[in-house]
């Protein structure tokens, strides 16, 4: 009589499509779930393709892009002007617009390698780790609270966040970065004191899964959910695989069986959560155990109450099982993922890097390299990058350096109407892309342009002002929100306290990643609520006031120079004559009827310009 449905059954296209795939209707044999899918064989380093316009090539990357363009008889876009380049580079590498002094010094730097020098400076900036660490935190579903109704505070989550920033700044090799996060607790047992601590902190990656502390829950149910999440997140972040599809039944499109899903689950099954005392009042979230004889079973249809066959830990057949001993440990799993022989890990990570530098991955479906994902636009380039990544010792900084120094990256982003029909999504990269800034970067840019930014790196998360009615949303939960005040509230947005059930409203309005599941790419939507926030939200109002008063203080009474200064701060460039005239007209219009508001309105208009909201 009582027949509970499975608690979570992900939707895969229904059986009809599945049958079609196997009958070869609409889906080729190669895509029909077979293991000779391109992404399941290890990348081989391709020979650089021959190109005619060799003078354009600045990096091996360019050969691949140009070869395709030449096949299509399309010329690359001209290089972007220098101020655009500097702003693009600064935002992409540090998430902050260039200061007025940086812009001026770059524009006056006539040395041949001025751009490359600037690249090196920005890669060495402590803000580089904040910018690229935040990208990783999206994958790690980072938050400062547990999720669900009670949404309990996790007061030490930031210790992991800071480690990520540090690791990225120190350019920790990505294979080691991977192993520490998946099995740092196991390594730490045999490590020296200096790295031990970081290995333990890093292993907090999988402590970021949600937990439900609501009264009356069946604890086992949510513990099982967290383990499922650990498998799914590992698949998303490192392998670009939609493993969660195999929780309830074998994957409909990729050669991953439900049994294999629970073989991966078995690595996480024996783990017990543990808070490690790091000394000095610091705590790290980590795990204990991992070798005891927990028996793992397949969950029939994903229902943790319906146990099927017993399984032991194991890797995925379709990716080759190199290094899989008879009874592999979680450390073996981590090493298998971070191995150069793993066909996916390096490809998936360089694809993430590409995404953040061009707005779109070479594989557009960054989260899905399986047979249902999109094929790479430049398969050889992807493989070249993946093998290069391993060759340079898994150095993310080196890869980013090579990409941003390329002619491909430096192109102007202006639309090319003549290609709108042939390449509407700009997959050939016959230009750069124009990209709306992410939520955090928008707020940071406004604070920076107006000289309000507190640029200190790392430390506890802070709570900015939360509107009363949003605060009130918290009253049913076990937490409360007390606004922080003072300089701490002008810190960068990645330090804003992430309450899973009540994200600070400003951030999701601009498509901040959902902190409850691993996110490989964010949306870039455009809504009237964004306009309202930019015009009326306290942060942006304060920034406009401060920008106006800074300009007035620096150049008292000199309206034209004030406008030039504000342009430089907001857009990293000088205003054109047309723009200056229009801004002066605005200033005068307002000054005539409301003299006290003229500077503010002018500054606010600049902070709302589409160009300010975008990286071009």
């Amino acid at each position: 009589m009582f027949s509970p449905r499975p608690f979570f059954v992900p939707v895969i296209i229904r059986g009809v499509l599945w049958l079609m795939a196997f009958a070869g209707l609409g889906v080729s044999a190669d895509e029909g779930g077979s293991s000779n899918h391109w992404a399941f064989t290890a990348p081989r380093r391709p020979v650089l393709p021959h190109v005619r316009n060799t003078r354009w090539v600045k990096s091996p990357v360019d050969s691949f892009i140009l070869a395709r363009l030449e096949t299509e008889h399309v010329k690359p876009a001209p290089v972007a002007d220098r101020s655009t380049l500097l702003r693009r580079l600064s935002l992409d590498l540090t998430g902050l617009p260039p200061t007025a002094a940086e812009t001026e010094s770059f524009l006056n730097d006539t040395r041949e390698d001025a751009y490359a020098r600037r690249v090196d400076d920005l890669l060495a900036s402590p803000h580089f780790g904040e910018r690229w660490g935040r990208h990783w935190l999206d994958l790690a579903r980072y938050a400062d609270s547990s999720g669900y109704q009670v949404d309990r505070e996790r007061p030490w989550a930031w210790v992991y966040r800071d480690w990520v920033i540090r690791s990225v700044n120190e350019d920790q090799p990505f294979d080691q970065f991977t192993i520490w996060q998946l099995a740092g607790d196991l390594l730490a047992e045999k490590s020296s004191n200096t790295v031990q601590r970081d290995q333990i902190i890093a292993s907090g990656f999988h402590r970021l899964a949600l937990s439900n502390h609501e009264d009356g829950v069946d604890e086992a149910e949510f513990v099982a959910k967290a383990k499922v999440d650990r498998v799914a997140t590992t698949g998303t972040a490192w392998l670009g695989l939609t493993l969660a599809c195999a929780e309830c039944h074998s994957h409909k499109f990729d050669p991953i069986s439900q049994r294999e899903f629970y073989q991966l689950y078995a690595f996480f099954d024996p783990l017990r959560e543990h808070d490690a005392d790091l000394g000095g009042g610091l705590v790290a979230y980590t795990f204990k155990g991992g070798t005891n004889a927990t028996r793992t079973h397949v969950h029939i249809r994903g229902d943790f109450l319906r146990l099927g066959d017993e399984v032991s830990p194991g890797f995925l057949q379709c990716l080759g099982s190199t290094g899989c001993s008879k009874s592999p440990t979680r450390l073996d799993l981590a090493r298998w993922i971070a191995s150069p022989e793993n066909p996916l890990t390096a490809r998936v990570e360089v694809n993430h890097l590409w995404l953040h530098l061009f707005g779109r991955g070479l594989v557009a479906t960054t989260e899905d390299f399986g047979t249902r994902g999109e094929k790479p636009s430049h398969p050889e380039l992807l493989d070249w990058l993946a093998t290069e990544f391993v060759r340079v010792g898994w150095s993310r900084k080196e890869m980013i350096r090579q990409i941003v120094n390329s002619a491909t990256y430096r192109q102007a982003s202006n639309a090319r109407p003549e290609l709108a029909e042939r390449d509407p999504e700009n997959r050939w990269l016959a230009r750069q892309n124009r990209l709306r800034l992410e939520s955090e970067i928008l707020r940071d840019s406004a604070l920076s342009a107006s000289d309000l930014l507190n640029a200190s790196v790392g430390g506890k998360s802070f709570r900015p002002h939360l509107p009363e009615d949003v605060q009130w949303l918290s009253t049913a939960s076990a937490w409360s929100w007390t606004d922080d005040t003072g300089p701490v509230t002008y810190r960068r947005s990645l330090y804003i306290y992430t309450q899973r059930t009540v994200q600070h409203p400003l951030l999701p309005t601009f498509d901040q990643a959902n902190p409850s599941e691993s996110c490989t790419r964010r949306d870039r939507s455009d809504t009237p609520l964004q306009a309202l926030a930019l015009l009326n939200n306290g942060v942006f109002i304060e920034a406009a006031h401060h920008l106006a008063s800074t300009a007035e203080t620096k150049f008292p009474g000199d309206r034209a120079t004030q406008i030039q200064y504000a342009f430089l701060r907001c857009l990293g460039r000088k205003a054109s004559t047309t723009e200056t005239r229009r801004m002066e007209r605005l200033y005068d219009q307002v000054a005539k009827s409301h003299p006290g508001e003229a500077g503010f309105v002018t500054a606010q208009t600049l902070l709302n310009l589409d160009e300010f909201l975008n990286r071009e």
Partner: protein
């Protein structure tokens, strides 16, 4: 869905808002003035992709969500046999494989309902005597007594009811509907959320757009003060100065669009124009002073609690707020808001059920009755779907958690049977669907799962729940996950 399509989809909602010409006009005026205009400018837009699969009966939905788990046994599903068995233990066979949030199985006993039921309307449907205003509308209601769900905890249950899955991060039903059908309003968001009583226990996660674009998120409206966050021009800034600023912004954005050729800038300009219209429309919407005295009285917007008290938050303001929210919902329907969620908490009556239930019924009964009557009288009920739901029901057993120390005065969470009702657009009223066993433990006739209810709601909007999908992380998701069947007997 590929990103390009997504962008077009997003853009469509603004450009269909009727503002397409405005940006172009502004551009012409600016560039004409500056002598830069080369030729006519237009933004190329994709033809609107329609998800409508068949004729819609509903244009809008008012989703009245009673958070916490409404006691169906005391309000909607009378069980004389349960009253007879009051104080007795349940057969073990019924509870053997059942998980409870708080009940201790060994010592739990059945608890009858002290509340009087009565027959209402021509259809003679039995409902609680504490719901006279709703009872007066019973001939328009389809009462479902055989609902069941998967989760016996609040947040997962709420997420399942709102988003079709107990997991965080899925789009809300209102987001799906507005994603599929767009907004009917040129000035207001397509999906609006109104809350009263205690705060929603899951924060705002039930109203989120999940993996859908963020313009499909539920927008919280406040019933008093600034209607929407960041709606008001900052204090000390004159309307005139703001106006000049927006003019300059539009001109410079148009100029930038000409320089970069990026059609996204046109969408940005449109978004600012829609925001400006919303700034005018939202305060007009929430201003109830133009409503007749008769209407205000019918809804009870000036009521107080009449001295009643509750253990579960909300305070005396809940009476006014809930009534205002119901009236606002009607005004939103009139203005083309697609999906309105009226959220009320809390119905989580583990103890003090009798007094707290009476309190909640007094809060919600009169305004909901007035809303249904008002919609009907204005001819709006024909294409407005009204749904009352909760995440689960409550147990026929009294709750005996140890900390209550023997004082049993409430009921525990009960996912295997509960009641909801629907009215309006295409719903056959005056009927009871489904039946539970003699003590209300399990459905014995026409069991209806949450996904079935959702499939039916989408159907009324002209949407096939199996075809309304969105590709995310390699999977085609839908509101009804892998389940759901349209409940045909509910349709007129």
């Amino acid at each position: 869905m590929d990103p390009q399509h997504l962008i077009q989809q997003t853009r469509r909602d603004f450009l269909l808002g009727g503002s397409r010409g405005v940006g172009a006009l502004a551009l012409a005026s600016l560039l004409g003035q500056e002598g830069l205009l080369g030729g006519p400018h237009s933004t190329k837009t994709a033809a609107a992709k329609s998800f409508a699969h068949f004729a819609a009966r509903a244009k809008s939905c008012i989703f009245i969500y009673m958070e916490g788990g409404v006691s169906q046994i005391d309000l909607f599903d009378p069980k004389p046999k349960l009253n007879e068995l009051n104080g007795q233990k349940m057969p073990e066979s019924l509870t053997k494989n059942v998980r409870f949030a708080f009940i201790q199985k060994d010592s739990a006993v059945l608890m009858g309902s002290p509340h009087k039921f009565q027959r209402y309307g021509k259809s003679g449907i039995e409902m609680s005597g504490m719901l006279p205003h709703l009872g007066a509308c019973v001939d328009d209601l389809a009462l479902v007594r055989s609902m069941h769900t998967d989760s016996f905890n609040h947040h997962p249950g709420e997420l399942l009811m709102y988003c079709g899955s107990p997991m965080l991060g899925r789009p809300s039903m209102g987001s799906w509907v507005t994603y599929a059908l767009g907004s009917l309003s040129q000035n207001l968001p397509g999906y609006v959320v109104l809350t009263a009583g205690r705060a929603p226990s899951g924060g705002n996660t039930m109203f989120q757009n999940g993996f859908l674009p963020s313009n499909y998120a539920g927008v919280m409206f406040r019933s008093q003060g600034e209607p929407v966050q960041d709606l008001s021009t900052p204090a000390g800034l004159s309307a005139e100065a703001r106006h000049y600023g927006l003019d300059a912004l539009r001109d410079l954005n148009s100029l930038r669009q000409m320089q970069t050729g990026d059609p996204e800038i046109a969408a940005r300009i449109s978004a600012y124009e829609l925001a400006a219209r919303m700034q005018l429309a939202a305060p007009e919407l929430t201003d109830l002073s133009k409503e007749s005295e008769a209407t205000r009285t019918a809804y009870g917007v000036d009521r107080d609690s009449g001295g009643l008290k509750t253990q579960r938050g909300g305070g005396p303001d809940a009476f006014k707020t809930f009534a205002r929210n119901c009236l606002l919902a009607r005004r939103m329907v009139e203005r083309g808001v697609r999906f309105i969620s009226i959220h009320h908490a809390s119905w989580d009556h583990h103890n003090d059920l009798d007094s707290d239930l009476l309190y909640n019924c007094r809060v919600v009964d009169q305004p909901i009755g007035a809303l249904l009557g008002d919609l009907k009288q204005r001819g709006l009920l024909d294409d407005t779907l009204v749904v009352w739901a909760s995440e689960f029901g409550r147990t026929p057993l009294g709750e005996n958690r140890p900390s209550f120390a023997g004082r049993v005065s409430g009921r525990d969470h009960h996912p295997s049977a509960f009641s909801v009702w629907l009215a309006g657009a295409g719903v056959r009223g005056g009927q009871v669907l489904g039946e539970t066993d003699e003590i209300g433990w399990n459905p014995v006739k026409d069991p209806i799962h949450v996904h079935d209810l959702q499939a039916t709601m989408l159907h009324l909007f002209g949407l096939n729940h199996e075809r309304l999908t969105y590709r995310h992380q390699g999977r085609d998701f839908r509101l009804t996950d892998v389940g759901g069947e349209v409940v045909k007997p509910l349709l007129s």
